[in-house]
Point group: C2
Chain length 409, copies 2
Amino acid sequence: MALIVQKYGGTSMGTPERIRNVARRIAKFQAQGHQVVVVVSAMSGETNRLIALAKEVQAQPDPRELDVVVSTGEQVTIGLLCMALINSGVKARSYTGPQVRILTDSAFTKARILKIDEDRMRKDLEEGCVVVVAGFQGVDDAGNITTLGRGGSDTTGVALAAALRADECQIYTDVDGVYTTDPRIVPEARKLDTVTFEEMLEMASLGSKVLQIRSVEFAGKYKVRLRVLSSFQEEGEGTLITFEDDIKMEQPIISGIAFNRDEAKLTVLGVPDRPGIAYQILGPIADANIDVDMIIQNVSHDGTTDFSFTVPRGEHDRALGILEGVKAHVGARELRADRSMAKVSVVGVGMRSHVGIASKMFRTLAEEGINIQMISTSEIKISVAIDEKYLELAVRVLHKAFELDQVPA
Amino acid sequence: MALIVQKYGGTSMGTPERIRNVARRIAKFQAQGHQVVVVVSAMSGETNRLIALAKEVQAQPDPRELDVVVSTGEQVTIGLLCMALINSGVKARSYTGPQVRILTDSAFTKARILKIDEDRMRKDLEEGCVVVVAGFQGVDDAGNITTLGRGGSDTTGVALAAALRADECQIYTDVDGVYTTDPRIVPEARKLDTVTFEEMLEMASLGSKVLQIRSVEFAGKYKVRLRVLSSFQEEGEGTLITFEDDIKMEQPIISGIAFNRDEAKLTVLGVPDRPGIAYQILGPIADANIDVDMIIQNVSHDGTTDFSFTVPRGEHDRALGILEGVKAHVGARELRADRSMAKVSVVGVGMRSHVGIASKMFRTLAEEGINIQMISTSEIKISVAIDEKYLELAVRVLHKAFELDQVPA
């Protein structure tokens, strides 16, 4: 008998019929003798509906009150799922974040979990109950309702698994696992049976979007065994997220090709190369709450350098406007902007101990005539910025070059 | 400076624009130096939407889980109203029933309030905050979310006023007070400046539907000063519900004409007149959860009697079906049913000390050729059942006969 935490997202909770399907799946697990704690998101679209309603009342909704409103989305689904379970003859009891209680700090709309009381859940499990907990929400020390920010239900799932020392935390999504790359672009893309936490972090932040990045960090920190599965398929083992300790010798060098389509590149040319210049350029961008992704500054020549960075495409115009002001201030020569960039990355913990990955990547792209505009690397990934029109081609040839369509020996 | 509890219903909370209007009204009260606690219902239609959703998942929703789902309706409106208040520069803080905390028994979907903690509200009021509380909900001793049943937001308002020893509890509705009868039927109908609790109870139960009957009982028990006002009119004093102690000597004999259109009459003829017969007839009706209103049994002759009662029209067919079985069992001679009945009542605490009210009522109806089919009386009302087609005429002539269109001297 195992204790399993399962998390179901908004799509799985989207209709009464789907909720009944989830209930059947849970009932099957319980019938196998497992104890099950379930974390659910709001019905798909509901959180956005509530936020839109709030904005109709107050353009910038008060954060405390926004959390009061938005947290109702998950409160509805925990009740509905328990009804479906009870209807299938399974004992079930729902809890909101405050009821559990999931104690957080008081950072409304982006609270962090501090502590989870497990007593009540433990008692219900011992009575043979399925425990259904609202994701994405908690309560602060003063009794105020808080939310963890978008996608926080994954984090709730992992945090509950950590608190209960669960045998596994299963995240059910609309994909059946983590793939070597997006199967819509590369039909030969292969589901990975395992992927390391670090690779998962790189994949998530690079746009694979299977798991919320915070939940992956959390699972790594508390050593929670985490598995991604499809909520629409009855069978399948999904992808298990592993710790590096578990990595087998035959771990492939590269695990996958991640990419992000919607980027824009901004370059400040002829910047005097003096201390503090990076801050003078990026400070105003950060102050405007624009996320910056890749940042490149190469060595200077003749006392000036070029400074490039990428932002989400939707922020291109705002960022450019800010740079116009910065340009005169820092005495730069010129601004250049390109709003049709894409980023492609090869990811793999194995590349640490292997040379030649970067050169193989660059050669593969060169053979297809794809120009690399920016390069940035970390311990376990190499990212390049390229013209967006070459994105699909780049992903396909890299996938083939690194033999990701082959099952590792 | 007064402490006022205001309650706004679902229609007043129906759209962001209406919510902003309510916020402006509250801001005006606060600007006058009053402390304000506000109780709100869910947006109109929302509670029904949530119940329908629950029934799609489980035909007979589990009561505990239904309360979890349905209580989200008011949680959304407390947040939205606070946003509107904060947007108008008014400090405001929302509380769910459990947050207050409004302690109830554990009768899910129809819980009763046991105790209200006032400390947190008191503290906020002292800090100049408007306190906004979700109506209709509470929490039981074990921490489960409960609801008070439909219309329970009025009860929450009165209960908070009692706990806080508020100077007044104002119930805002879509009418501007209690009228001598329905102005849609009698254009001369007059708004009452005051009405007694007992009259209000009779009016509410007879279909005037301005206030939920439980909240009126509650206000009477805890001596809460209760006022009904319009949420759509800026001016007006509404109708104050008074205690009998306050009644002035010039209290009119009759306060109003109440009526209920949707009744059906069922009569069991030739019932042997023996002990237990009323129970044998009405027991199966009650077991089927059919509400019975008027019950009439007159003296017997030749050892048999006739037994009549009224039910909501929608229950006519079910009730008749049940009586078919009862008829043989009790040895009755015949069943008669009439599905187009209406009930008209004259209500007034003054009638206690005045004879001749009943005869005046009967004479007035007789002069118009309206046949009285059933009569039932209480200390402060006389009700008659008549053919539905005479309803409007009966209400109009009685309103005139008792001079309700005249302002009392």
